[in-house]
Symmetry: C2
Subunit: 476 residues, 2 copies
């Protein structure tokens, strides 16, 4: 896809954010956000955008510059090209931020049936993302691959992620058992440039490697080697992806909140959060974009769910992300969204043009309950249902917005992911919390170390043992 350099193409593929039905002007109810509310925040938003720009210039937000790392991208593409022909199966060992981004890219741009295709029909290796340590799941992957035609990509910045490093050790043994010393050619690490356990192993065992850039947290790493390398291996056009991100970057630098999709959407969610709406639903009407909602779930939850604000006061902040899929979840969640509590703001993702337009035959023209379907298309049906859902919610005073994606391709995906990253940064600023840390997960790690018998964590194990003594009172 080279069209992404063409201005007309870019304009046609521009993502827009429609917030009509999130506004009091349509919703009517008192507990909603008005255009005047947005005006009241215009200056604060401009300041937030300037602050982010300044932090970026100071090198504090390197994730924002990932779309411009042309040297690294060249290296990624070269290695991917080589690897692509070396394997039938490409297995990512990674979890959280080292898995969700590429899963979203894969589902969006290669579809759900890529792995199930016959070898002849498939244009790139199968991709398995081993994002859980469930033994049956991981064993299932190993049982499905041929050690001679598989490349493992182990991803961990520090090399101390218990789940990923366990998988790495198991995969290494699996390869050694079959390939002997040649196993090294089947293992590529994506890790810190200089330090950490995995970097040491790479140096010691002379493995191929790529770099997780400094200062880029896992959940903001999809446009680094973490997400780009697996994407390139399965044949995703990462140049187009990054061009889309750069295109969005321009829009997201606009200090006028009304012209900045990331800032405007963040402000809407923030104002509703202030009004007590603690749930943020993302509901793409597109199977391809299903896992974008899952990726977004991490960036939104982990970035904004914080005990303290920047002044150190206890705020227990956070808006819970919920992923849904249209039209499927109309038959599961819509009843609750329409009639339930006023605790949500809902964002749909609408795809303008699908790759296929499947016609519904005029098979039962005599039967009044279904004859209206004949002669139409699935595209018309899915987008009619989306529109019907938007209006129904609006008429019930339930705020909802829609991200319009003209078509699902690498260029629009790049825009979408980048917009949601910047949106999260803006939201963090508005909420006055640290968007980029995750202190709440440390305690659980220490307990795990204790239970796993790691040296130096005996006291944690004792703490758990003493808990065990008082449990089992409440059980049925």
């Amino acid at each position: 896809m080279k069209e992404f350099a063409n201005e007309e193409f870019k304009e046609k593929m521009r993502i827009t954010f429609d917030y009509n039905y999130a506004m009091k002007e349509y919703l009517g109810s008192d507990n909603t956000v008005s255009s005047a509310d947005i005006d009241d925040y215009t200056e604060e938003c401009a300041q937030v955008i300037r602050d982010i720009k300044k932090e970026r210039e100071e090198g504090k937000l390197p994730f924002m510059d990932l779309p411009y790392a042309s040297e690294e991208v060249l290296e990624i593409k070269q290695l991917a090209k080589k690897v692509r022909y070396m394997c039938d199966d490409f297995v990512v060992l990674g979890i959280g931020g080292s898995a969700l981004g590429m899963t979203a890219l894969m589902q969006a741009l290669k579809g759900p049936f890529h792995n199930a295709q016959n070898d002849d029909d498939r244009d790139a290796p199968r991709l398995y993302v081993a994002d859980n340590i469930d033994p049956d799941f991981f064993k299932g992957i190993l049982d499905n691959i041929d050690s001679y035609r598989t490349i493992f990509n182990v991803i961990s910045k520090s090399g101390s992620t218990a789940e990923t490093m366990s998988q790495f050790m198991i995969a290494q043994q699996f390869l050694k058992d079959n390939l002997g010393a040649g196993y090294k050619d089947s293992m590529i690490a994506t890790t810190d440039a200089k330090s950490g356990i995995l970097r040491d192993i790479v140096n010691q065992e002379e493995l191929s490697s790529l770099i997780v850039p400094d200062g880029v947290g896992g959940r903001f790493s999809v446009l680094s080697a973490v997400g780009l390398f697996p994407a390139a291996v399965v044949g995703i056009d990462i140049d187009a992806l990054l061009a889309g991100a750069r295109f969005m970057d321009e829009m997201c630098q606009n200090e006028d909140v009304r012209k900045n999709p990331a800032a405007l959407s963040a402000l809407i969610y923030y104002l509703y959060y202030q009004k007590g709406r603690n749930i943020n639903v993302m509901m793409p009407y597109s199977s391809a974009l299903k896992d974008v909602a899952d990726w977004y779930g991490q960036i939104w939850a982990e970035s904004l769910g914080k005990r303290h604000d920047l002044e150190g006061d206890v705020v227990n902040a956070g808006q819970t992300p919920v992923k849904a899929l249209g039209v499927t979840d109309q038959h599961s969640q819509l009843q609750l969204y329409v009639e339930g509590p006023d605790d949500k703001v809902i964002t749909f993702i609408k795809v303008g043009e699908f790759d296929n337009e499947v016609r519904i035959p005029e098979a039962y023209s005599g039967i009044s309950g279904i004859d209206y379907l004949g002669g139409t298309t699935l595209t018309r049906l899915i987008n009619s249902e989306l529109h019907a859902t938007e209006i129904t919610l609006m008429k019930n005073s339930k705020p909802n917005c829609t991200i319009n994606v003209p078509a699902v391709n690498a260029f629009t995906l790049g825009q979408l992911l980048y917009m949601l990253e910047v949106q999260t940064s803006v939201m963090g600023k508005l909420m006055d919390i640290n968007t980029y840390d995750q202190p709440g997960v440390e305690q659980g790690k220490l307990y795990t170390y204790g239970m796993m018998g790691r040296e130096g964590f005996e006291d944690k194990n004792e703490e758990i043992e003493s808990e065990k003594k008082r449990v089992d009172k409440f059980k049925v």
Copy 2:
């Protein structure tokens, strides 16, 4: 699996519900539920259980008797046996309650790699559940199957479900193009016994068919032909599944809430809902049980998300279900769960024994950050992480419960699904709402009819057109 008749096996495989860390006795905080709170509801719960029993005896809750429908089950098994050898691909056309149950069964009991396996390794047909009308998704399924070796199972009680009937018409044309009149042998309908559009089509075209029992709503239909037939086709032991459901049924009839896992768990969620916790997280630590959380999401949201209570007062009730997966989402959602608002009650599902126990090799005994992993197993790691997460949340006064599933098999799955169905019924009674209807989704259907040009719904289309005239003011 014939062991399910053996008392020792049943006891060993009994599902339990652990609510220690949901109790004030552990959590300490004021905003939590104490053992005394449960005692206060003992009589009300006993009454609810009696009321449900009475309604069941009056034939008002036929979903509760599905595990005893031996004649229907025999018919399902016979047809499944025949079909199984007739096809390599089995495609379900269904949505919502006609899709989520069997997807959960499939993921749990056949694993995520069933479809991706080579024909030689696979012991049953591939199963595709076409639960969305996304044209690229549905076309992807059709592109992946061989019309000569595929059976379609179209599921709709009324036969007027727009999504399913569109797919039916497309699939029928697809078959006719390839097989001519012989297409009829490749199509099986699961629908109302006597009336409705799909039953008329079955009669007219002499298709094979199974029955959606009267009075069983879609979301409560997994243990009818809707879920059982596809399950049987892919080789799931539906006798064991139903035996598990019957085993749970006994427990769920106990009028003592402390001894009734469905009632006790419902009461816990209810008491937390009363305290303002509007989010119900289900987080299995098992890839196999991932889609059980998705199935549960429908039954919980659609049953309990209601505008009116039984007295007709506006209550806008509902607790939003959130699905998460352990350990994966520790790296995505746990930060929010630990540090965020007190708006959740979390239920883990713990698997005692996995099918495989994958050993982690002692590969890096010199490196202190990862050496503790060597010599342990993935089962130990996943269950240590679960335990660490439970304790961390408890220490942060975040209520959490755990459903203990001794092992994932058809017998335990039957217990689990049945327990969650009855739990939902009890919760509906406690909330004083109608658990079994879904009036909120009607309005959207009418708008869709209007937009799709269905006769008699022109006014709905006009209503939408007039909406269109005032939109597009708020867009970026």
